[in-house]
């Protein structure tokens, strides 16, 4: 098997995650899909690290994880506060950006 298969898997997972972001309305699930996309990227990084034989890809993946953790904390806090004020976790309900 060629390790490039990992990359195909990564692309597939990323696309599935992206579609989930587009399709789902529950903000938490949307957020999970974003995490899925991040993980797909991480897989690609780790695979690149292996293909190239150095550790930089893994370092990047590591930083991605840290940033993802920070992002999750803030994102979930936002979801909770929106839910508190609007009693809804649907992203379609927060459409104040429209004129």
């Amino acid at each position: 098997m060629n390790p490039a298969n990992y990359l195909y898997l990564s692309a597939l997972l990323f696309t599935i995650g992206a579609s989930g972001v587009l399709i789902r309305r529950n903000a938490i699930v949307v957020f999970m899909c974003v995490e899925l996309m991040l993980n797909a990227c991480n897989l690609a990084f780790v695979t690149f690290s292996r293909l190239h034989g150095n550790l930089d890809g893994q370092v990047i993946a590591f930083f991605t994880m840290v940033v993802a953790a920070a992002e999750v904390v803030v994102g979930l806090a936002i979801i909770v506060s929106i839910f508190r004020s609007r009693h809804s976790a649907s992203v379609d309900d927060a459409n104040l950006m429209k004129l």
């Binding site: 587009l22 379609d92 459409n95 104040l96 950006m97 429209k98």
Partner: protein, 634 residues
């Protein structure tokens, strides 16, 4: 002595400052203060005059540099005075006649609650006019020029509660503005051409002007003529003078007869060096003068309003002066001489008219006068002397000065001389006609006055001393000034060092001119007596001939202005507005509307749903990936 020149201007200026800012506490004494300061100014003028007489001819010019007004590198505007024989003549005329009219106004404006303000304005006028004639450079002259324009505006509109007065003031101001543009352009041209404003710098340089500068000098001459036309009510900027009679009569006498309207003559005479170097401009000047002297005379024949008839006469007489000034060295002296004698008799005539109006409940229609000579004898005599002077009755002032102008016109030589001389001669005849008409309608014949709308029948009476005394003084001037000036050609010798003089080449002898003038004088008087003396004057104006009707309407000058300027301006404005609405606004609004429509459509994409935005992002990313791959593939 030099410092006295500054004081000459400062005294009335101080009066204006005090009277206009002093408030109501000066209401009781303000007119006395104003008159006193005018007299102070006159006294200073007399002192300076005596001093000047005591000097040699070539030592007579006094200069006084006060301070630098605009001290900019390459642009130096000075505040400085130059008192020579020409300025001296004007100073005496302005302060002398001005003081008399101040005194007259004490009585005339007695019942006006704004008398203090009136005297403030009069003082302001004196200061500005003195500044105008004493300035040693064009820049300062312009300040005085605008100052007299302002004073004129304020005084014409002095009774601004009357819409006619307010309109007349506005009209005078606007028409004067056209002339002022001419003056400012002339000054700018002078500065760019000669690099200085001062008379002493400019005039010698004009004499040495090189070839290419001659066109500029001609242009300057035309611009100065435009300025003179505006200020001196010459064709085509003459329309404001008749309406300016809406102001109080002393104003008409001082500003719109004796002094301010002669500023144009002063300007042309002062700028003699420029006009001498620009024959084309001189031709324009004499043309304007000749046309105006006939124009004013014709208008004066038809007016029933005594002040408007006198205004037409003023216009005509200034036409004489402008024509004389346009003749060059032949005529400068006589222009100024006529200016001075005219200052006396026209001021006297206006004061007389004011006195008549004073006694007739401010009635101005001569058809409602008649037979007033018994009711107001002093007014009759002084007015009569002024009348004799203006028509050029032998021995009186007007005879000497007007005769000289007609002679000078013939002395121009060639066809031009004959045309100008003929016009001047014809003008003399018409002058005799309309002045006799005024005299007959006012003081002779049956009394024609009746009760006005309120039931007040006028009780004609002689005016108080404060009004009659100035009239008497002016009458003396009207009678003797011309003779005095002509003894040994004293006036000629007095002014010659400033203006220069040449005899010209007259095709007719002086005696023939005098005889001709006498003939036309008699003809004019006789014609008037036939029409207005022998027959009773109807109290309501008859329809009259076509010419009479045209002259009553100032020869349609306002209509011409209306059609050409107002209507034309309106059409221009309307078409511009239309253009603005259809084209400019069309483009602008069209752009805005199309952008707006496009935005409205684009806005539908902004539905506020995050997921829609996410689709756009993913689509965009896909496009970027596709582009990257394509670029790599190529």
């Amino acid at each position: 002595m030099e410092t006295l020149i500054g004081l000459l201007v400062a005294a009335p200026l101080l009066g204006a400052g005090i009277l206009l800012t002093g408030g109501k506490r000066l209401d009781r004494s303000g007119h006395l203060l104003g008159t006193l300061l005018a007299l102070v100014s006159f006294a200073l003028g007399v002192v300076l005059f005596l001093d000047m007489l005591g000097k040699d001819t070539d030592q007579r010019t006094l200069t006084s540099h006060l301070w630098t007004w605009v001290p900019v590198e390459g642009f130096q505007a000075q505040v400085g005075f130059q008192l020579d024989q020409l300025s001296m003549t004007f100073v005496l005329l302005i302060t002398g006649v001005g003081s008399l009219i101040h005194i007259y106004s004490i009585g005339y404006m007695e019942h006006d609650e704004n008398r203090r303000k009136f005297f403030g304005f009069l003082n302001l006028f004196l200061a500005a006019m003195l500044l105008l004639v004493l300035a040693d450079n064009y820049f300062l002259l312009y300040a005085g020029w605008e100052g007299v324009g302002l004073a004129s505006y304020l005084l014409i509109g002095f009774w601004q509660h009357k819409p006619s007065a307010a309109t007349a003031a506005k009209k005078a101001f606007l028409v004067n503005r056209v002339g002022d543009i001419g003056l400012s352009v002339a000054i700018m041209l002078l500065f760019t051409t000669f690099g200085s404003f001062a008379f002493s710098d400019v005039f010698p340089k004009v004499g040495q002007a090189s070839g290419s500068q001659h066109a500029t000098i001609t242009g300057i001459g035309f611009m100065l003529l435009l300025a003179a036309c505006g200020k001196s009510a010459q064709v085509p900027l003459q329309s404001w003078l008749g309406d300016a009679m809406e102001g109080p009569t002393p104003v008409s006498a001082l500003i719109h007869a004796a002094t301010m309207v002669t500023a144009g003559v002063y300007l042309i005479t002062r700028s003699g060096a420029i006009f001498n170097a620009a024959p084309d401009a001189q031709t324009a000047v004499v043309t304007v003068g000749a046309v105006t002297l006939l124009y004013g005379a014709i208008v004066g024949c038809a007016k029933d309003d005594i002040k408007k008839a006198l205004a037409g006469s003023t216009m005509s007489q200034i036409g004489y002066m402008i024509m004389a000034a346009g003749l060059g060295p032949i005529g400068y002296v006589f222009a100024i001489m006529h200016l001075v004698t005219h200052g006396f008799f026209k001021a006297g005539l206006f004061l007389g008219a004011g006195s008549v109006m004073h006694g007739m409940n401010d009635e101005v229609d001569m058809r409602r006068y008649g037979g007033l000579r018994t009711y107001m004898p002093v007014t009759f005599v002084t007015f009569g002397l002024g009348y004799l002077a203006i028509i050029g009755f032998p021995g009186l002032s007007g005879f000497f000065s007007k005769d000289k102008i007609i002679e000078a016109a013939f002395a121009k030589g060639g066809t031009e001389g004959w045309v100008l001389g003929g016009a001047a001669m014809l003008g003399a005849a018409v002058t005799a006609f309309y002045m006799t008409r005024v005299m007959l309608m006012t003081f002779f014949g049956e009394k024609r006055w009746a009760a006005d709308a309120d039931g007040h029948e006028p009780h004609p009476h002689e005016s108080p001393k404060s009004m009659t005394v100035p009239m008497v003084v002016l009458a003396f001037g009207s009678v003797f000034a011309g003779g005095l000036f002509s003894i040994n050609s004293s006036f000629l010798h007095w002014l010659e060092p400033v203006t220069g003089h040449s005899e010209g080449d007259s095709p007719v002898s002086a005696g023939a001119v005098t005889a001709g003038t006498m003939v036309v004088l008699v003809v004019g008087v006789a014609l008037a007596w036939l029409m207005y003396g022998r027959k009773a004057v109807p109290a309501v104006a008859p329809r009259g001939s076509l010419l009479t009707r045209a002259a009553r309407r100032d020869l349609y000058q306002d209509d011409i202005n209306h059609v050409v300027l107002v209507r034309g301006g309106e059409h221009l404005t309307r078409s511009l507005v239309y253009l603005d609405h259809s084209l400019v606004d069309g483009v602008v609004n069209g752009t805005a509307a199309s952008v707006g429509g496009l935005s409205g459509r684009l806005r539908k994409l902004q539905n506020g749903y995050v997921r829609s935005y996410a689709v756009s992002m993913l689509g965009g990313t896909a496009v970027v990936v596709a582009a990257t791959l394509l670029m790599r593939a190529v």
